[in-house]
Subunit: 134 residues, 2 copies
């Protein structure tokens, strides 16, 4: 991860403009929609999936990305350093969106005696704006 390539720029760009967690294939498809991202790029061309996986791995290692464990699905990834937040998964288009804030702030969660809570994760399921309209 020490050379600058058009593919890596494209991948970082996709994450930065997404504002939602993306899976590897999602990333690959989004790079195909970037027009003329790199020199000599054919229309509709993009980044190969091996490169997407490799680059995500490297971006995780350097802390630029963070894994999001989606219940019942393979991992997606989002930019790290975002404020504490949770996610919404649309049951129609299957995309995951960021939600602002945390409904649990200051809330008390009742645990069995002797259990200790280190962390939590909240998932909201429903229909996103697009899929509700459709």
């Amino acid at each position: 991860m020490d050379r600058q390539t058009a593919q890596r720029q494209a991948i970082r760009g996709v994450f930065e403009s997404a504002a939602r967690p993306l899976g590897p294939i999602e990333v690959m498809n989004l790079t195909r929609k970037l027009p003329g991202q790199f020199p000599g790029q054919l229309p509709g061309a993009g980044v190969g999936q091996a490169t997407v996986y490799r680059t995500i791995k490297a971006l995780l290692a350097e802390g630029w990305l963070k894994a999001v464990d989606v219940p019942g699905e393979p991992q997606r990834y989002e930019r790290s350093g975002l404020a504490h937040h949770h996610h919404f998964r649309c049951r129609v288009c299957d995309r995951v969106f960021d939600l602002e804030g945390c409904a649990l702030d200051g809330m008390h969660v009742h645990l069995p005696r002797g259990f200790r809570m280190d962390d939590h994760e909240l998932w909201i399921y429903g229909r996103c704006k697009n899929c509700r309209a459709a």
Copy 2:
């Protein structure tokens, strides 16, 4: 699923006494601990994993079991018909426990305009009683 067998009894029994969601391999291992569950059972014998998978599938189909989607892991299963509840995952022993009640009761979750919430899921991570002591 129309014959009564010792294996099916054993599997149902394991779920009933577990009070927590179990994965197929977990179920298989637990059946090995049942002493003399079925005629001619050797000590430490249990139910084969093909049978565990098949039986879980059947119990899901008849509504006796319900899938639990654990973030970042394969599905586990629990008895259906339980009251609304959430889960605790111990980061040491990796077991999942039921929590009573719901911290979100009556809470307001802020969604982007146009989004609709149908359902939600809360995961608490930490150390269970056993692993905290150890």
